[in-house]
């Protein structure tokens, strides 16, 4: 330590650049830990996922091998008994509809927040909107379960008020969507808030000055300038929904009904396959399929936001 100090003190005062010589050591010190950790414990598990999918199970133990057996058996069951293809379809359907709903509702929320509240309240409102995200997701899902149940809070409240109509959404994918919406809304609200806030207010004023109605201003100024944020948040919300297990299993009841049918989500299939068989190599194949779909969604999102960016500039 002492030699570092003495060396640094020879750096002339007029030199406004960083002290020379020790930069590399500091840089390597700062880089070593993150690099090591992400290689071993982030890239590691992902590579292991691929490796494991080629291994096999013998006497209930996973043993190293190089076999495509797992891929073949998953491929055969894609359309067979396990019906992975229908589960993937269900997941895509639920994820896409949830994401669309989420972007629409959160978009309206952000517009209402930014344009109807005085700006001194923006920060507080955003703070409150993000608050639920900090609380336990599994407990919120549990709360939705007792709210939406057949003899749950909402239904008993309705009959206490003398209303005959009853809500019957628990154990359907509608309930899954409610849980997912509640989970992803804070994230999407933040993304869209940053998007809308960064729109130059002068542009909106200019449009209004030139006689545009609020609706026209929204359609021709705010919406086009928010396109990147909208595409990104749609992409983000679909990724969250596609990978989530809790809403589907607790609110959707495992195999919740939707237009696709009473089929579980792909994520739930993966989990129940693991707890049913503990055949890790096979589960890895399913996980890889999921990763491929997610990469596809992500790439589509990137392409989409690039196109949106280009359409502005």
């Amino acid at each position: 330590m002492a030699d570092i100090v003495s060396e640094a003190s020879t750096v002339p005062l007029t030199n406004s650049k960083k002290p020379r010589g020790r930069t590399n050591r500091l840089m390597i010190a700062m880089l070593a830990l993150p690099t090591f950790y992400s290689l071993v414990f982030f890239i590691g598990p992902l590579i292991f996922l691929i490796a494991l999918s080629l291994w096999k199970v013998e006497n209930f133990r996973v043993v190293p091998a190089f076999t495509l057996e797992n891929y073949i058996s998953v491929g055969q069951q894609m359309f067979g008994n396990s019906n992975y293809s229908i589960a993937i379809l269900q997941s895509l359907y639920v994820a896409a509809t949830t994401a669309a709903l989420c972007v629409a509702l959160c978009g309206a929320f952000v517009l209402a927040l930014v344009y109807t509240l005085p700006s001194r309240l923006h920060r507080l409102a955003l703070l409150l909107a993000v608050a639920p995200f900090w609380t336990s997701y599994i407990l919120r899902v549990f709360a939705w379960q007792i709210l939406l149940a057949k003899r749950g809070i909402i239904n008993t409240a309705l009959s206490a008020m003398g209303i005959d109509w009853q809500l019957a959404v628990l154990n359907t994918q509608t309930a899954t969507r409610i849980g997912l919406l509640h989970y992803s809304a804070p994230v999407i609200i933040v993304i869209l808030f940053v998007t809308v806030k960064s729109i130059d207010r002068d542009l909106i004023e200019a449009a209004r000055n030139l006689g545009a109605t609020r609706w026209t201003t929204f359609r021709t100024v705010i919406l086009p300038l928010s396109r990147v944020g909208i595409v990104l948040s749609f992409c983000f919300a679909s990724i969250i929904a596609f990978g989530d297990v809790l809403s589907g299993s607790i609110l959707g009841g495992g195999a919740g009904r939707s237009l696709v049918g009473s089929v579980p989500l792909f994520a739930n299939v993966i989990m129940s396959d693991y707890s049913g068989s503990t055949n890790l190599p096979r589960v890895c194949v399913l996980a890889i399929i999921m990763v491929l779909i997610l990469v596809f969604i992500l790439m589509a999102g990137m392409k989409g936001s690039e196109a949106a960016q280009r359409s502005i500039s």
Binding site: I4, S9, K18, A32, P45, L117, K197
Partner: protein, 284 residues
């Protein structure tokens, strides 16, 4: 004259009906966002076995039941071991990465920035399966250490993002001034950068802690016979809706409320500052 008219028209109160509609929508949205939390808080103090309206009177029985429930309590203590350790490690790694990315130009800099942040985009389900495979190979599965290892990887991006946001708001001249006054880079790091980034580090730690404390899927795969709290709650939920869960939920909500107050006071001003380019204030 025309300008006066314009000013009035662009005033938010120009169209009272639309403004009212917007505010009503905000109100409904906030009810939606807070309904689950309020529900659990209220029904943790209700006698009902099954939550319904009207309630059956106030009682503390679920809290009593909770404190004699060894499974939930041991899961809670597991979580209280895992999350602080994971958050601390994630903050240290996150700070190193954020500082390096912010300060140095090196080959693979953008790759590192992406790789560090990637776990947030990968569903925990995938990471959980991968971790189970890797850790069982290293004979590290089914213990608290395995959950900690996985949670550090999961929460580092969040911690790093917050810390980097803070570091990017510090003027580079701060470090240069310190060097000019004769401090070494290490001294500058220790005595100038670290104190200035303290709010970011604290925010990152709280975010990492919260992520780890609430994380379910990865813990479900790797925790084995040492379940963390969300894993045990899931087991309870799969069996039946036990109102002890309401009681533990209330405790956790109050706890997260405190964390939230701390974290949002630290983090939200940074996000807002980053998103309003017009007013660049000098970081305190």
């Amino acid at each position: 004259m025309a300008e006066v008219v314009v000013l009035r028209r662009s005033n938010p109160d120009g169209r009272p009906l639309l403004t009212l509609l917007g505010r009503v929508y905000l109100g409904v949205a906030f009810v939606f966002l807070f309904l689950p939390i309020i529900t659990l808080l209220v029904f943790s103090f209700q006698k009902n076995q099954y939550a319904s309206i009207p309630g059956q009177g106030w009682s503390l029985r679920w809290y009593e039941k909770l404190f004699s429930d060894d499974m939930l309590l041991s899961a809670l203590s597991n979580s209280l071991i895992v999350s602080p350790i994971a958050a601390t490690a994630a903050s240290i790694i996150g700070f190193c990465a954020a500082y390096a990315v912010n300060r140095f130009v090196f080959p693979g800099r953008s790759t590192l920035a992406v790789v560090i942040v990637l776990p947030i985009l990968i569903p925990p389900l995938i990471l959980g399966i991968g971790f189970l495979g890797l850790l069982s190979r290293l004979h590290l599965e089914g213990q608290l250490l395995s959950v900690i290892i996985a949670h550090v990887a999961l929460t580092t991006p969040a911690a790093m993002a917050i810390i980097q946001l803070r570091l990017s708001q510090l003027p580079a001249s701060l470090e240069e001034a310190s060097w000019n006054l004769g401090a070494t880079e290490w001294q500058t790091l220790w005595k100038v950068v670290l104190p200035c980034a303290a709010s970011g580090i604290a925010g990152g730690w709280l975010l990492a802690f919260t992520f780890s404390f609430d994380e379910f899927v990865i813990a479900w795969f790797v925790s084995g016979f040492q379940p963390t709290l969300p894993v045990t709650i899931y087991t309870y939920l799969a069996a039946s809706a036990d109102p002890s869960l309401n009681a533990i939920a209330s405790i956790i909500f109050v706890f997260s409320g405190l964390l939230l107050a701390g974290a949002e006071l630290l983090v939200i001003p940074m996000v807002i500052r980053a998103s309003s380019p017009g007013r660049r204030s000098v970081p305190a």
